[in-house]
């Protein structure tokens, strides 16, 4: 592994960066308004839908999308596929901000935020609570992610002694950094078990932790592919197609396992007739499944896997499918009974938009100023040589995405 990382350099304060900054500023103002006047002043959350877009997107979906670091660490350190190590810093970067911002959004969402530390006080802890496990795991994992990511920052500020010190203990945090997401990504699904009849039977199952874990890992690989291609095009860097083709080869098998469990579970529980019932739920289920099937079809084939456009579309489909699965389970197919309705309010949405904007700003800052991305060209292992000869470039991808 002769990999080198380097800052991308270039101008940080682009017009796009300022635009993102404005979105963050709006979100901060709205958040302050929320803290002065209460949650109801900005959000449409209510007693029937106590969890809205903040929990469903920022926490449940956001941390699943932030599973790139976790998914790649499983490949590199459990299955010893060291060839993927060059991509780990970029994956960790998306993870560290995905989780940190999810934690921040919790402070906005939670009503009695000034008492949040009660979660860490042993005399208040309820060890039966799924929420406690999620809260402790997510907090601890956020710290672990910062430790895992710290060599990048320490290199950038030339703190060499501290860097050496961190590296000696890093293996422990890598192990912990695989265990914790395994625990809380499954538990994010388990949160819904106690809601019972409020969650539509197509989504309510005791298998939900396994389904959430599988989709989270799959979304982790998908975001690695998505992020790499998007960054390569917009930061005008070489495409890492070879490596991405190899990483994405895992995705269809994970998705097939997921779909077998998901559909098998519905059949075994005798809920298959609901797929033909009226209402939006069967269609939502079909949309989820179609997105995953698209990912499977696109990525099962090696030729397509070596085409950046196909890779990008497939990764996007997997991310959308996993997100829709989470939105369906937590919000869309969640029905607390007659009379209750929820659609996020403007201020509520702007806080979420601001959080995403901040994540993108943080990504740009660290990629440009610290050694996150690989220096020079990605290592060539010729997995796509044949395919590349057929289609050396992917003009569609470059035309479709505007340059930052």
């Amino acid at each position: 592994m002769n990999e080198r990382y380097a800052p991308v350099g270039g101008k940080l304060l682009t017009p796009q960066f300022y635009f993102l900054g404005i979105l963050v500023a709006i979100a901060v103002v709205i958040a302050l308004y929320r803290f002065v006047f209460g949650i109801g002043a900005v959000a449409n959350l209510n007693d029937g839908y106590p969890w809205g877009v903040w929990i469903t997107w920022d926490v449940v979906t956001g941390t699943a999308i932030a599973c790139g670091g976790y998914a790649l660490a499983v490949l590199v350190y459990v299955f010893n596929r060291g060839r993927f190590h060059p991509m780990i810093r970029a994956a960790l970067l998306t993870s560290v901000f995905g989780y940190t911002l999810a934690g921040l959004s919790i402070i906005v969402d939670v009503g009695r935020w000034w008492q949040l530390y009660n979660v860490f006080l042993p005399w208040y802890m309820n060890l039966h609570s799924v929420m406690l496990e999620v809260a402790l795991c997510v907090t601890l994992y956020t710290v672990v992610l910062w430790i895992e990511f710290s060599p990048t920052i320490l290199e950038a500020i030339h703190a060499n002694r501290l860097l050496r010190w961190v590296r000696h203990g890093l293996f422990f945090f890598i192990g912990l950094g695989i265990l914790l997401p395994t625990m809380h990504q499954s538990s994010l699904g388990s949160l819904l078990i106690i809601a019972g009849w409020k969650v539509h039977p197509l989504w309510q199952t005791t298998l939900i932790p396994l389904l959430f874990l599988l989709t989270a890992i799959t979304m982790g690989y998908a975001i690695v592919v998505f992020e790499s291609l998007y960054a390569a095009v917009n930061l005008k860097r070489p495409l890492e197609t070879d490596m991405l083709a190899r990483v994405s080869a895992v995705i269809p098998w994970l998705l097939i396992a997921y779909l077998v469990l998901r559909i098998g579970d519905i059949v075994i529980r005798g809920k298959a007739p609901l797929l033909l019932a009226g209402g939006a739920e069967p269609w939502l289920f079909a949309a989820e499944t179609a997105l995953f099937l698209y990912g499977i079809v696109m990525l099962l084939d090696k030729t397509r896997r070596c085409r950046p456009t196909s890779l990008f579309l497939a990764a996007t489909a997997v991310l959308l499918g996993g997100s829709l699965y989470r939105f369906n389970a937590f919000l869309i197919a969640f029905d607390p009974g007659p009379g209750w309705h929820y659609f996020p309010g403007f201020g509520e949405l702007m806080i979420t938009v601001g959080i995403v904007a901040f994540e993108v700003m943080a990504y740009l800052f660290f990629v440009k100023k610290t050694p996150v991305l690989m220096a020079g060209h990605p290592p060539e292992d010729r997995v796509c040589k044949h395919a590349n000869r057929q289609r050396p470039r992917a003009p569609g991808l470059h035309a479709g995405v505007t340059s930052a």
Binding site: Q115, S129, I193, K198
Partner: protein, 365 residues
Amino acid sequence: MSINRRGFLKGVAAGALTTLGTGALIEPADARPPKQLPPGAVGILYDATQCIGCKACEVACKAANDLPPELNSPLEQIHGVSGVWDASDDLDSRTMNKIKAYAAQAAADASGTPEVSYVKRACMHCVDPNCISACPVSALTKDPDTGIVGYNPDACIGCRYCQLACPFNIPKFEYDKPFPKIVKCQMCRDRIADGDIPACCAACPTGASLFGPVAELREEAHRRLAAKPGTSLTYPIHRLPEADAKPDPAAQKDAPAPAYTQHIYGETETGGTQYMLLADVPFDKLGLPRLGSESQARISETLQHALYGGMIAPTLLLGGLVYAAYKHTHEDAEEDGQDGDSSTDDPTPGGTPAKTDARRPGGRS
């Protein structure tokens, strides 16, 4: 060697997935035992057939719990006044106890009487409450003696998981306040501690809300269900009389027994509840969900305990993962040691990678 280790590590990962899978499909035999009714459990039996809809219980509840009146209700907006009457549609953060009316729309049964009933909604004080299982910080607790589900705002973080977990949509949250609390009926636990009875039962003139020990209330409910419709039944008012007390004519009344729906709502629902209901219309018409006898808390905790019991599975998995990470980072260091002091992650800003011979033909540069 390397293959063996690889195989072992695959085993670790497979083991983790299997643990999750089997945990999810755990047999009921290993399930957490259902919670039992506490010895001194007290509760309320609400008999909809005796309710006259006077809402004296609502007024008394607000007074006893210092709850503010409802403002800005649609009614008040229509009439352009405010604070004139206290009119909430349902339970909310200002109302812990609510009488609602049900009248079947086109409806008349065989005898020509339209189906009409009141229903009183408040916390059910479950024997095995989902909210208590859900709360991460033990802000909701069940009194070990009385079984009353109480709320401690000093512990609460306001995550509202209790709202999601409650099958009856009981806990309410003050979305309109900067320092909000959860609001729900706590069965006037301070009054009970003083030897008094809940305000709603004290205010109820007809005995529709009846306070007493849960076991005795269940007996009382079965006695009413067993009565032949039309025969005279004695209804205690406010509270069940002590077993050895002399009958007090002021504390009871006689009325013809109605044609009860042969079910005590809350006897088995979600593992049993300490607030129980009787009615002469089907309970789902009164907005009460159809629930099995097993609480979701039990299902959820069974799964969590299977996965995390004693933290054994996570600890084993952590050991395997740390070993794997140590081995694989250690190997890298050994390989890298040949290059001198620099480790794998050392950056060489602007420097070229060691292997530059194999540049991709399709890459942009």
